[in-house]
């Protein structure tokens, strides 16, 4: 195939990603790649457009960094979250709340030298290691909340919008009940009342407990605090789905009126097929943008909840919780507030930049201008050739 674009490294990477994805899907569905050439071409153009938007690229970079640290953070961290250096040194009173850059010799730990690039907390733990391990907590929670809360909302919204009538009335009344509360307030109340029941459940289901501990990269010793952690997750799922139900219902209602849906009904396609194969793909674009933006929202809310003392308890590494504990020593130990908060902001900013960029790409109005930019560089490429 003749290539007519002037390509950056990122464009070439985009090609590889799209073709790789196509081949990957073709492994399961024979001939998918050949059948969906135009779709893949569109994806490629979207990625090219993304490559030409610096803010979106910065967002993508931050998000990828967050995901990587979320997965590998606990391994990258030099010290485990439950390693308490103050137990291994004579100068334990100095090692706690040590400022950034200080060094200590752990005389009861083979005289190992411990450095605190970002300072230490009130247990003398290394803040940098805590932040790296804490990425896992944030990452797992946001993934679970989004991957359970959003589909639940979309499903209910689709059903309400498609069937209408009493089903719609019932679902939307329930949705409205939840939307009558400011989200964080409801999350606070739920996080407060849920833990005990969840803890009882966890303690009696060892497999679940093991799985959750593995997810959060925690030691068995923390099993007793999982209830609080999971309560925050459940609380956030409960406050997160109603917004999606409402958005999905709205777009389903407008989509349902279109002729092709009427045609699909007329030829007697089952409701399930119409909803998931015809309506959903056509309304998913804006919802994807919301999801991207909401990752930032979930991370902010989780940090807020743990800043209020809900959810993660020490020694579990959690960004909001570090600030909650560190705030007592503010402003003396400012680093305990400053760095974790900064990290939360950067991660949320990353998701928001990416979401904003995606919105520009998916919005036909701005998309046109981006496509022209792509074509312009294509022309320049021709001129160079």
């Amino acid at each position: 195939m003749q290539e007519e674009y002037k390509k950056s490294i990122l464009d070439k990477l985009a090609d590889k990603i799209v073709y790789g994805l196509g081949s990957f899907i073709s492994l399961f569905k024979k001939g998918w790649k050949e059948k969906n050439k135009s779709k893949m071409e569109e994806w490629r153009l979207m990625l090219y457009a993304l490559n030409r938007s610096p803010p979106a690229l910065i967002g993508l970079f931050l998000v990828i960094l967050f995901i990587l640290v979320g997965i590998f953070g606990p391994r990258l961290a030099h010290w485990r979250y439950n390693f308490f250096p103050m137990l291994y040194t004579k100068s334990y009173d100095k090692i706690i709340l040590a400022p950034p850059g200080s060094k200590f010799v752990l005389d009861y730990y083979n005289n190992t030298v411990i450095t605190f690039p970002l300072g230490s907390d009130h247990y003398g733990r290394d803040l940098l290691s805590l932040i790296l391990s804490g990425a896992r907590t944030s990452f797992v929670i946001s993934i679970i909340v989004i991957s359970l809360g959003v589909p639940l909302g979309i499903l209910l919204g689709l059903i309400a919008g498609y069937y209408g009538g009493k089903v719609d009335e019932l679902i939307m009344r329930i949705t409205d009940m939840f939307l009558a509360f400011p989200a964080l307030i409801l999350a606070i109340a739920l996080s407060a009342v849920l833990p005990e029941r969840i803890q009882n459940f966890i303690s009696t289901h060892e497999a679940v407990q093991k799985f959750v501990l593995w997810l959060f990269a925690l030691d068995v010793r923390e099993a007793g605090n999982l209830g609080r952690l999971l309560a925050v997750i459940l609380a956030m799922i409960i406050v997160w789905w109603p917004a999606y139900a409402r958005i999905t219902r709205g777009s389903t209602l407008t989509e349902k009126e279109k002729l092709y849906i009427e045609a699909a009904r007329a030829i007697g396609l089952p409701a399930r097929t119409i909803m998931f194969k015809h309506i959903l793909p056509n309304i998913i674009g804006p919802i994807l943008v919301y999801i991207t933006l909401d990752f930032g929202g979930v991370i902010l809310m989780e940090a807020g909840l743990s800043f209020l003392g809900l959810g993660a308890t020490p020694p579990i590494a959690d960004w909001g919780r570090i600030v909650y504990d560190g705030a007592q020593y503010f402003p003396k130990a400012w680093w305990l507030v400053f760095y974790p908060g900064l990290v939360v902001m950067l991660v949320a900013l990353g998701w928001n930049l990416l979401g904003d960029g995606l919105r520009d790409i998916l919005d036909p109005k701005t998309r046109r201008s981006i496509e022209f930019k792509v074509k312009k560089s294509k022309k320049e490429g021709e001129a160079n050739a």
């Binding site: 009344r173 409205d176 009940m177 939840f178 009558a180 509360f181 400011p182 989200a183 964080l184 307030i185 409801l186 606070i188 109340a189 739920l190 407060a192 009342v193 849920l194 005990e196 029941r197 009882n200 933006l293 930032g296 929202g297 902010l300 940090a303 807020g304 800043f307 209020l308 003392g309 809900l310 909001g320 600030v323 705030a327 503010f330 402003p331 400012w334 507030v337 400053f338 908060g341 900064l342 939360v344 902001m345 950067l346 949320a348 900013l349 928001n352 930049l353 904003d356």
Partner: protein, 333 residues
């Protein structure tokens, strides 16, 4: 105007099921979800069996669910729900804390509106210039900044470094109370020293709380204003020979319709942010009280506060809907 009245009645009628919905959720939180509410209310693990039994008796926990639900509604409506920890009716404990939270939200809201709307209009009129880009960045940073982080950052600057604000206590309410919101009352009664004291204590937390929404509002105002300006009727107004300023007035009124909706949502966001702001700035408000109550396993207080937050929020939404109808004749019928 007649249809406006009809709209009002209809809208206020739909307010009732919303309140019922709120009580149902509050009921679920208070009586259904906790594994053992009585034990929690009596103080958790350390509670004696007799105390737990007494609590069960007092809060009808041995009765069927509908009895419990009725007990809760009656308790909330008549303020007869007794806090097991303080032995006061719950709303008595909240009474002094409510004005702090409400005042904080009002001041934050004022900041949001006073900065957000003009910024959005400037951004729209100077579209695609550096101001516009700056507002876009500001909006993105606004939604990405944790409230507590910004709070401590500004505390460091204004309290630790420059001592421009203080953190101790809250100034008293003026002797004559009209709205029961101290800062408004002191202004209404002409008590400017007290007004200044309140402002000195509240401006920083108010700004921090309002910060998040300001950029978003500005962006939204910009987009709605541009959308309104691109309307055909604006072209027609121009063809009519209407001066520029009057054209902007038409566009602004049209843009206000979506803006008012967003303002309602933002007020909800502000309310939700009050517990964090109050914690950072040591303000003895409702949100802070809720957090302390959670630490003390004092659930009736948590339930009552959650209920009040919801009531404020749905009332704000009611006001938004009414404003909406006042501005836009199309929604009245």
């Amino acid at each position: 105007m007649a249809d406006l009245k009809k709209f009002l009645i209809r809208r206020i009628l739909t307010f009732i099921p919303t309140i019922v919905g709120v009580t149902i959720i509050v009921f679920l939180i208070a009586y259904v979800i906790p594994a053992d509410p009585a034990k929690a209310w009596a103080g958790g693990e350390k509670a004696s069996p007799e105390a737990v039994e007494r609590i069960k008796e007092r809060y009808h926990l041995n009765e069927p669910w509908y009895d419990q639900y009725w007990f809760l509604i009656k308790g909330l409506a008549t303020n007869t729900l007794i806090d097991p920890r303080t032995s006061n009716p719950v709303f008595d404990d909240i009474k002094d804390r409510f004005p702090v939270t409400f005042q904080l939200a009002i001041i934050a809201f004022t900041f949001t509106i006073l900065i957000g709307i003009p910024l959005g209009l400037i951004s729209a009129l100077k579209r695609n210039t550096w101001i516009d880009t700056l507002v876009r960045i500001f909006a993105l940073i606004g939604v990405s900044t944790p409230v507590f982080w910004l709070g401590y950052l500004l505390l460091f600057v204004f309290f630790v470094k420059f001592r421009i604000t203080n953190l101790a206590g809250v100034p008293p309410a003026p002797p004559v109370q009209i709205t029961h919101i101290p800062i408004i009352d002191s202004l209404l009664t002409g008590n400017f020293t007290l007004f200044k004291q309140h402002l000195a204590r509240f401006w920083l937390p108010g700004f921090v709380l309002g910060f998040m929404g300001t950029g978003v509002l500005a962006r939204f105002v910009r987009n709605s204003f541009l959308e309104a300006l691109s309307g055909d009727y604006i072209q027609f107004l121009k063809a009519k020979g209407v001066p520029k300023l009057r054209m902007y007035r038409h566009a602004l009124k049209n843009a206000l319709v979506p803006i008012v909706t967003v303002l309602g949502l933002q007020f909800g966001g502000l309310l939700a942010g009050t517990p964090i702001t109050e914690t950072v700035f040591a303000l003895p408000g409702m949100g802070r009280y809720a957090i302390l109550s959670i630490q003390n396993l004092d659930f009736p207080a948590v339930v009552a506060i959650t209920f009040i937050y919801a009531i404020i929020y749905v009332t704000a939404n009611l006001v938004v809907d009414i404003l909406y109808a006042v501005i836009d004749p199309r929604v009245r019928y």
